[in-house]
């Protein structure tokens, strides 16, 4: 097992490469999910535009 982590003496290089890759991938996944959740909540809470305003200003014409 310690042979595996030693990577034949190249541990620093191999694990810096794999480790940072894993970190940035996890970061991207989390960031995408957070942004998506935020957009979903915003869409969920958006007050529907009243028909009178829709007629005057179009579908997204609400404050």
């Amino acid at each position: 097992m310690s042979d595996f982590f030693a990577m034949g003496g190249y541990a620093w290089y191999v694990w810096m490469a794999y480790g940072v890759t894993a970190l940035v991938i996890v970061w991207e996944i989390v960031a995408v999910r957070v942004a998506r959740h935020r957009a979903l909540v915003d869409a969920h809470n958006l007050k529907p535009t009243p028909p009178s305003t829709r007629a005057r200003y179009g579908p997204a014409g609400s404050a």
């Binding site: 990577m7 290089y13 940072v20 940035v24 991938i25 995408v32 959740h37 969920h44």
Partner: protein, 249 residues
């Protein structure tokens, strides 16, 4: 003449389709990544010259291929966005840029940590490394340009132009090792000749490439759905989407 796939060029029809597709790509990516990591880190033998340092190849090459491929896909959607004034095509290009940038960063970072033990340096200004770095700047430029322009449709057009103009860099990266005398090695895998690489190593690399590809698709589809929600804010069809209706704060 009716072409049924035209239906999906509107955000309202594309949104639920993308939602149904994403989980499959995410699961496939996870399974392939686990298999690829098993092959690359455990099963594949040490290299005769480089020892275990070569195992970085299982991330470096897939990431580098994806960095170039995603850019071409982004440029493709940008062409469609400009040619057809298509909102959704521009949104797809917008969604691809961050993932492309990430793949480019991973390629550069893992390349540096592979270069140090094998070439003796983390970095050199040779043709391939320099043009890959420029690719990263192009991605970041597309992302930054979008942030700099208020009107989304103007931003679509500006970012599309930048993406298309920058596409020339991709063949430069690809052919750099042939055209110039580079520190970076020439290609080992070709579409015409047999690969000059042990088959287990090649298999691991291909598995990880598909993992990276499906991962990129899953992330880009998720991101474009968020972009759609943000840019189509207030549209009636959004209220009818199951994920919008069922979200808990």
């Amino acid at each position: 003449m009716s072409a049924p796939w035209y239906r999906f060029s509107s955000p309202a029809t594309f949104y639920p389709l993308a939602g149904r597709l994403t989980p499959w790509f995410a699961i496939a990516a996870a399974v392939l990544a686990l298999a690829g990591l098993w092959l690359g880190l455990v099963v594949a033998p040490s290299d005769a010259t480089q020892g275990d340092a070569y195992r970085i190849i299982f991330i470096h090459v897939p990431a580098a291929w994806m960095s170039m491929f995603i850019y071409l896909v982004m440029a493709f959607w940008s062409v469609l966005a400009l040619a057809f004034n298509a909102r959704l095509s521009a949104m797809m290009a917008q969604a691809l840029a961050p993932t492309g940038a990430l793949m480019t960063f991973i390629a550069l970072w893992t390349g540096a940590f592979w270069g140090r033990p094998t070439w003796g340096t983390y970095w050199a200004w040779d043709a391939r490394m320099t043009s890959e770095l420029i690719l990263l700047f192009l991605y970041l430029g597309v992302i930054a340009l979008r942030g700099a322009i208020d009107d989304p449709r103007r931003a679509d057009r500006a970012c599309s132009l930048l993406a298309i103009v920058g596409a020339i860099n991709v063949p430069i990266i690809y052919f750099s090792v042939k055209w110039w005398n580079t520190l970076h090695q020439g290609s080992t895998v070709s579409m015409t000749a047999a690969p000059k690489m042990a088959s287990l190593m090649l298999t691991g690399m291909l598995v990880m490439t598909f993992a990276a590809w499906f991962y990129s698709i899953a992330v880009a589809l998720t991101r474009v759905r968020t972009i759609i929600l943000e840019r189509e804010r207030g549209s009636a069809w959004i209220d009818m989407q199951r994920d919008v209706m069922s979200v808990t704060t």
